[in-house]
Symmetry: C2
Subunit: 480 residues, 2 copies
C-alpha cells in the first residue's frame, strides 16, 4: 500500500467534481488554445516513415516472424487467430500488438479558488494527427519508469506510485484499450488529488476540470488517455437540473435514483448472458502464420488492403525522455465511425450500448457504443453492422456531439474516429436486439468503477456526454 491518505467521501467527491466541471473557467479556453499553439511551435517533432530494416533495436524473430525490441519490453507485433460464432466473419487471423505490462495514466488534481483543476501536459506522440494534445500528468509504461530505454525520470510519478503526502486517490482502475488492435491490453487509469503546492514543469499547465471537459467537443484536442481517465471520474449530478429537454434528461441520467429501463443487476445479468453465449476462441500465433497478410520491408498489410497496416517510423523530438528513436506503428486504412444513440425514457437519458467481442478482448465482450466500425472495410464485406444505416440517416437536429478524436498516438498512426452522439425519438427501440442494452449515465459510471465493462471508445463518448453536461450545451469557440 502506498502512503497516500486514502480515498475521499464518495458522495461529497461526486458533487465536488460536478460543481467544478460546471464552474466558469479561471483560465479562458482561448488561453488554452494559445498555449497549445505555443507548445506545438516549441516542439520540433519530426516523424518519418522508414523501412523495417532501418528500425533501431527492433527486429523480426527468425522463427516466429514476431516484431519486437531487443530489450524484450515495450510491445511486440504478433499474430492472433480467432474462431467465433459472432459477427459477419467467423474465422480469421491478423497481426496484433502485445503489451502485457500495465502502464500508468495519471491525472493530478488540485483545488484553486475552490475549483478542481487538472495538471495536464501538452504532449506529442509520433502517430498523432496534430502536433500536440492535452494529455494526463503522467502517461508511462512500466518500461518507461523502470528505465528500459534509458530515459530520464518521469515527472510527477510520485503522486501516483509513490508515497507523496497529502495526496488522495479519486480514481484507480484497470481499463482495457482497443480490442481489435491490442491483445488484452490494459492500463491503470488514475486520478489523485493533492493539497500541496506543486511546481509546474515546462510543458505542463493547470486547467480547470470543466475547461478540459468542455474541450472534448473540439477535434483532436484531448488525447485518448486523458479522455479515458476523465471518463472514470465519479460525478454525481447536483440538486438543480438545468432547463431544456435534452439537458435536463442528461442531468437526470447522472443521478443514482434515476428510473432506469433495467436495474444495474439486470444489466450485469444481460452482459453475463452475452459473454456466456458468444463462442469465441482467440489465441496468439506467430506473426509468420497470419494468413492473408503480406510483409515487405515497407509494410505488413492485408492482401485486400483492408482494416490496418503495420509500418515503421523514425521519430525526433525535443520534449520526450528520449530525443530520438524508431518504432513500429499500427495505421488504420480508413477513418472509423463510433456512434452512441441515446433517447429519453421517463425524462431520463438512456444510452444504447452493445456487447462487443474483439480479437483482443480479455473478458469475451465489453460494452461498446451503439455503432463502432470501419465503414470502408464493411462496405467491401457486403454487410453492415446494426444501426449503421440509422447513423447515415441522422438529421442535424438529432446530433448532440460530433467530433474527430484520435486514438493513442504512441502506438497508432493517424487513427482517427468520428465520434457521434445522436438522440433518437422517445419509444425508439424500446426492446432492442439481443446484443444491445439501454443504460443510464449513472449505471455506466458505476460500471466504470471496475475494469473491462466499458471499452475505450465507449469511455470517449461518456466523456462526450460529460462535455455537453459541463458546457451547458453552449458551443466552445476554440481553434485547435
Amino acid at each position: 500500500m502506498s502512503g497516500r491518505a486514502g480515498l475521499l467521501d464518495p458522495a461529497a467527491l461526486g458533487e465536488d467534481l460536478a460543481r467544478s466541471a460546471r464552474a466558469r473557467s479561471v483560465l479562458g479556453a482561448a488561453g488554452a488554445a494559445q498555449w497549445l499553439r505555443e507548445r506545438a511551435a516549441a516542439n520540433a517533432f519530426h516523424v518519418e516513415r522508414i523501412p523495417f530494416s532501418k528500425l533501431e533495436g527492433w527486429s523480426f524473430d527468425s522463427v516466429t516472424g514476431n516484431l519486437g525490441h531487443r530489450s524484450g519490453r515495450f510491445f511486440t507485433v504478433e499474430g492472433v487467430s480467432v474462431t467465433t460464432d459472432h459477427g459477419p466473419v467467423r474465422q480469421w487471423s491478423q497481426p496484433i500488438l502485445l503489451q502485457p505490462e500495465i502502464g500508468v495514466l495519471g491525472v493530478l488534481m488540485r483545488r484553486f479558488d475552490g475549483v478542481l483543476h487538472c495538471l495536464v501536459q501538452a504532449k506529442s506522440e509520433p502517430g498523432d494527427p496534430v502536433a500536440v494534445q492535452l494529455s494526463p500528468t503522467v502517461q508511462a509504461t512500466r518500461s518507461n519508469f523502470t528505465k528500459v530505454h534509458g530515459g530520464s525520470g518521469i515527472p510527477y510519478l510520485e503522486f501516483f506510485l509513490g508515497s507523496e503526502g497529502g495526496t488522495r486517490t479519486v480514481v484507480d482502475v484497470l481499463q482495457s484499450e482497443q480490442g481489435a488492435w491490442f491483445y488484452r491490453k490494459q492500463n491503470r487509469n488514475m486520478v489523485t488529488l493533492t493539497d500541496r503546492d506543486v511546481p509546474v514543469e515546462p510543458g505542463f499547465r493547470w486547467m480547470s476540470l470543466g475547461e478540459i471537459q468542455r474541450l472534448m467537443t473540439v477535434d483532436h484536442l484531448v488525447n485518448m488517455d486523458l479522455r479515458s481517465v476523465l471518463a472514470c471520474l465519479p460525478y454525481t449530478a447536483g440538486e438543480s437540473p438545468p432547463e431544456g429537454g435534452f439537458a435536463r434528461a442528461l442531468d437526470a441520467s447522472m443521478r443514482p435514483d434515476a428510473p432506469a429501463a433495467r436495474s444495474l443487476p439486470e444489466v450485469l445479468s444481460w452482459l453475463t448472458d452475452r459473454r456466456a453465449r458468444i463462442d469465441i476462441v482467440t489465441r496468439t500465433i506467430p506473426l509468420a502464420q497470419v494468413r492473408g497478410w503480406t510483409r515487405t520491408d515497407e509494410v505488413i498489410q492485408r492482401d485486400d488492403g483492408r482494416h490496418f497496416r503495420i509500418i515503421a517510423a523514425s521519430v525526433s523530438a525535443t520534449n520526450r525522455e528520449v530525443r530520438r528513436w524508431s518504432q513500429p506503428l499500427l495505421q488504420p486504412t480508413g477513418r472509423g465511425l463510433v456512434a452512441l444513440f441515446v433517447r429519453r425514457r421517463r425524462g431520463v437519458l438512456h444510452l444504447l450500448l452493445q456487447a462487443r467481442a474483439e480479437a483482443g478482448t480479455t473478458a469475451v465482450a465489453e460494452l461498446a457504443p451503439t455503432v463502432q466500425c470501419d465503414e470502408h472495410s464493411y462496405s467491401a464485406l457486403g454487410t453492415a453492422p446494426a444501426f449503421l444505416r440509422e447513423v447515415r440517416e441522422l438529421t442535424p437536429g438529432q446530433i448532440r456531439y460530433d467530433t474527430l478524436q484520435s486514438e493513442e498516438g504512441g502506438r497508432f498512426s493517424d487513427a482517427t474516429n468520428r465520434y457521434v452522439i445522436a438522440e433518437m425519438p422517445p419509444g425508439w427501440q424500446e426492446e432492442p436486439p439481443a446484443g444491445f442494452c439501454w443504460v443510464t449515465v449513472h449505471q455506466a459510471a458505476a460500471l466504470l468503477r471496475h475494469g473491462h465493462y466499458l471499452n475505450v471508445q465507449a469511455r470517449t463518448l461518456i466523456g462526450g456526454l460529460y462535455a455537453l453536461w459541463a458546457g451547458g450545451f453552449s458551443p466552445v469557440a476554440v481553434a485547435s
Copy 2:
C-alpha cells in the same frame, strides 16, 4: 434477453436469503445423508485408469503434442509458459487445461413453507474421492447443451437459458476456476427463483438453503460447483446479531454498514495497485514444448514428481447423459492446504485475503485466501509461502472451520484441499504485508457480484463462513 421476469428487490432478497439460511430444516440433515447413500448405491459408477493410447476420441496432435478431443470441444491439455517477478519461481512452463467455452452452473430455488429451497442433484464425477456429492441443478458445458457428445437433454436447463415463466434471476455472474490448472477458465454461476411447481427428476431433491449451507462443514459432501454458486448469494444479515463473540462478529461483518478496515474503493485501489505491479507474462505454448515434464503412454508428469500429473481414465456410469466415455484428468500429487485467517476489529470479523497471480489467471491476480499451497511441493522448493508457519502453529481453539473438500471431479482426480478458517487475536497483522488486505464479509460479497475478484478457493471459504453463520455454530452430525 431471456423471458425471465427480471430480478428481485436486492434488500428484501438478501434478508429473505438470510432468514432461509438460518431457518430450521424442513427435511432433516440425517435424511440427506441417507438419500446420498442411496444415490451412491444406485449409481454403479466405475472409473479405471487407462493408458493415453486407449482413450476414445482423444489424441495427441502430431505437431504440437496437445491432447484434445476429435470434436474440437470439451477441453484440451496444452502448455503455458510463465515469466514473472512474483513468487518464488520466476520462469516456468507447465501443462494446463484449456476450456474456452463457458458452462452453466445453475441452482434452481423455490419457496416451501416460506423457506427457500434449492433443487440439488446427487452427482458422480470420475475424479471425485467419494461416490456422489450434492451438485447444482444444472452443471453443463456448452458442449453438453449443444449435444457435441450426443448426450440427452439437460434437465431444468430452461430455468437458466430458456424463457421459463415465473422465474427470476438471483445470481448471474462469470467466475473463474483454478488458475494453476485451467487457462483463463470461467463458468456462469447462476441462481434462479421459480414460483412454479417443478417435477423432481430421479437423482434430484429439494433441500433447504440452510441445510445445504450447514452441510458445507462436512467433508466431501457439497461439490465445488455448488459451493461456488452459493458463495455468490447476496445475503444480508438480519436485525438481531446472535450472542457470542465470534458469531456476533461474523454477523456484524455481513452488514453493509460494518465499519471496515478499508472502504471498498480503497480495497479496489489496493487490488489495482497489486495487479499493475505484478509483472507476469503468460502465453500458451504447445504441450510438446513444456520443459521439465515427460510424457509416457501412462502419464505426463514433472521429472521431479511435483505439483500434478495428467492421466487418462475410462468411466462407466448409469446416471450421466453418456453412459460410457474416457477422458484425461489432472491429478494433484498431494493434498492442498487452503487457510483463511480472520480476526475481529471493532467487533467486526475481517478476512485476510491475498492478491494471487497464477499461470491461468485472467486478470493478473485475484483475491485468494491467506494461504493457498501444495505443502509437499513447497517443502521441496526450500521456501514457504507467507503465513504457512502460522497455520502449522494453530491451536484447536483458534480453528473455526476445518473440512476436506474436493475440486471439480469432471476435470481433476482426487483433488482434495484441506480448508481451514482460523481466528487470530485482535490486533494481529494490523498492517499486513503489501500483497495482503483485510476485508469484511460484506465487502467480499459485494465483490462477488462481479467476476474475477475472488478465486474459487476463496469462494469455498466464504461458503464456509456462511455455513458457520447458518448453523449457529452448532456441530452438524452427519456421516458422509
